[in-house]
Symmetry: C2
Subunit: 338 residues, 2 copies
DNA sequence: CTGAAAGCGCTTACAG
DNA sequence: CTGAAAGCGCTTACAG
């Protein structure tokens, strides 16, 4: 079934069928209804390739995921197979579906894959793109966003002046997240709050700055040896926390992610201390797995469904902009007021 | 950049460029190289919409996931958001990428969504399709597979004669899985082996039949009250196992999935028995979460990466066929020889 | 082996 | 408001 058959059946020209299909305003209601009825009756769907070739973009949104770093330093989950990406893909698919868009998933393992992607946009095969998983400031990403296509980036633009003027982005507010975790502990009466830093990426640093900011605003000094670094690694968090416990005096510990919180809890309990009675723990990410251990970890997290929705909703808006997703907190049993 | 520009630069016609692009055999090597060089040099990628319109299918494989049952009976995970689907999506994407295909994900929530999908195939927008998550024997699936497009179904065709003659499918061998789990326990010296059934779907029944078959082949009778049913539900498995322990005498228990194994272990330990010293446990699915509890559960599982690869590799083969994925076993600490 | 030309099924200025 | 016609960028019989 093609448009000229619909045209014949409706007693109009192909042009008019096309106008109805594309919601032109200069079609009288009576004509519109007549044509639409025939379309519905025969379940006509226009040839997407022909539409694209003639200039109307397809209802497809391309999700571009970087999996270039997959061999990088240790961590329990990494790359496009991490729960983070899997969930993000899922939420993107749902959010897109709500807008009548389908999702084409493209895992990039090589920077030259960008060529193909660009062509998809030029040729209207794809209406919009969401790009995720590249390190902050990646130039392929910034260039692509600057190209004028409907492309939005997740966690790729920094907050500096230059970035902001070229950005079209959804960012997780890791600074606010770090602050939120720390303030939560402060609100429970804690003053001697330790911190485990992740790695050296911007998001990790922002979480640390959030911690420092909350402590500073509360007027609490950072005591000696209360800040350690464990590269988002459980094992390293375990080792470093053991050292921390011997040299510092804390009643609470903010771990930049839940994986490290697992290591920290193990170290704490091995030292004969209890969570949360002796030391309260706040993590980051709100991973499912803490359902299965003794302590459901109190954890700050980014709502990935919100990120996905914001992306799909904002991808057709005019840049520049950076929209932030404010983290949320999930209260578990690993924290206690003092 | 379009094909006539490439043609001009290479000193040939558009026809020849097209022939090179499509790997026609009647192009002399010298010509091929000459044209290919220009293509590479300019990073030319053909317009996919034009190709599709002219008759060459796009390098896109559509993954069609059913999320119609999402409100069905209780279970920890269900619908397209389950780890099962998330991982499957990921492996499909990887397997497709290896063959130079991209994946368009389409979550179906309404049977009429099939219309749009069919059009994508008719119009060559999509080269192949993988359909997953529908109940066994779903007629939309069987019809679509029968339509002659490159479409393959996962776990949708039963083994009966009629199905087999119309099938193009990859199936998990749940019967073999049930047998494998039970035989594993038998090989460890167990004779009094209990069983927890999932729900009433074919896959659950097949696992049960595998159990019965293994017991039968070993010549062990099914003792009274050793088979219970818990609908893949942790809570229910907990309750039913409590009853089982009071009325039956077992040294091992095969749980049709890991979720139920969790409930069973809880019940066993509450009754003052130990896993695996008093009762060995084998689960099904090999879920990650058992990493985080006391017992890494010995578990039979389907290798989803294998399923994904088989799908992508077989989708262009001629039907009818059903290929089976034989489960694997992951040995944990929940089993012990007697 | 290769080019000129028709055709794929739409959209959209253009003319009325 | 609406139709005839050109054009989107390829592929592929057809003729040579």
């Amino acid at each position: 079934m093609k448009s000229d058959e619909i045209a014949k059946l409706a007693g109009v020209s192909r042009s008019t069928v096309s106008r109805v299909l594309n919601h032109y305003t200069n079609v009288p209601e009576a004509t519109r209804v007549k044509v639409q009825n025939v379309i519905d009756q025969y379940g006509y769907t226009p040839n997407q390739a022909a539409r694209a070739l003639a200039g109307t973009a397809n209802d497809i949104i391309e999700l571009v995921i970087a999996d270039i770093d997959s061999t990088r330093d240790s961590s329990l989950f990494r790359g496009a197979s991490s729960p983070y990406f899997l969930e993000t893909i899922y939420f993107m698919i749902n959010a897109a579906k709500e807008k009548g868009l389908m999702v084409l998933v493209n895992v990039i393992t090589n920077p030259k894959d960008f060529n193909k992607i660009r062509v998809n946009f030029q040729t209207k095969m794809i209406k919009a793109g969401i790009i995720i998983g590249f390190p902050y400031g990646n130039s392929d990403v910034t260039n692509w966003v600057a190209s004028g296509y409907n492309v939005i980036a997740v966690d790729n633009f920094t907050r500096d002046e230059i970035s902001i003027h070229n950005a079209k982005a959804i960012n997780s507010d890791n600074f606010e997240g770090g602050k939120m975790a720390t303030s939560y502990l402060i609100s429970k009466g804690h003053k001697k709050i330790g911190f485990i830093e992740g790695d050296s990426r911007l998001s990790a640093i922002e979480r640390k700055n959030g911690y420092l900011s909350a402590m500073n605003e509360a007027g609490y000094p950072i005591m000696p040896n209360t800040m350690i670094k464990a590269n988002y690694n459980e094992e390293m968090a375990y080792t470093e926390t053991k050292k921390l416990l011997k040299s510092a005096d804390i009643t609470a510990l903010f771990c930049s992610n839940d994986i490290m919180a697992m290591g920290a809890i193990k170290a704490i309990e091995e030292e004969g201390l209890r969570v949360p009675e002796d030391i309260s723990i706040v993590g980051f990410d709100n991973h499912d797995f803490s359902k299965f251990i003794k302590h459901k970890i109190t954890s700050v997290y980014i709502d990935l469904e919100e990120v996905a929705k914001k992306c799909v909703d904002s991808v057709f808006e005019e840049p520049p902009f950076i929209k932030f997703c404010i983290p949320k907190i999930s209260e578990g049993t690993s924290t206690k007021a003092i």
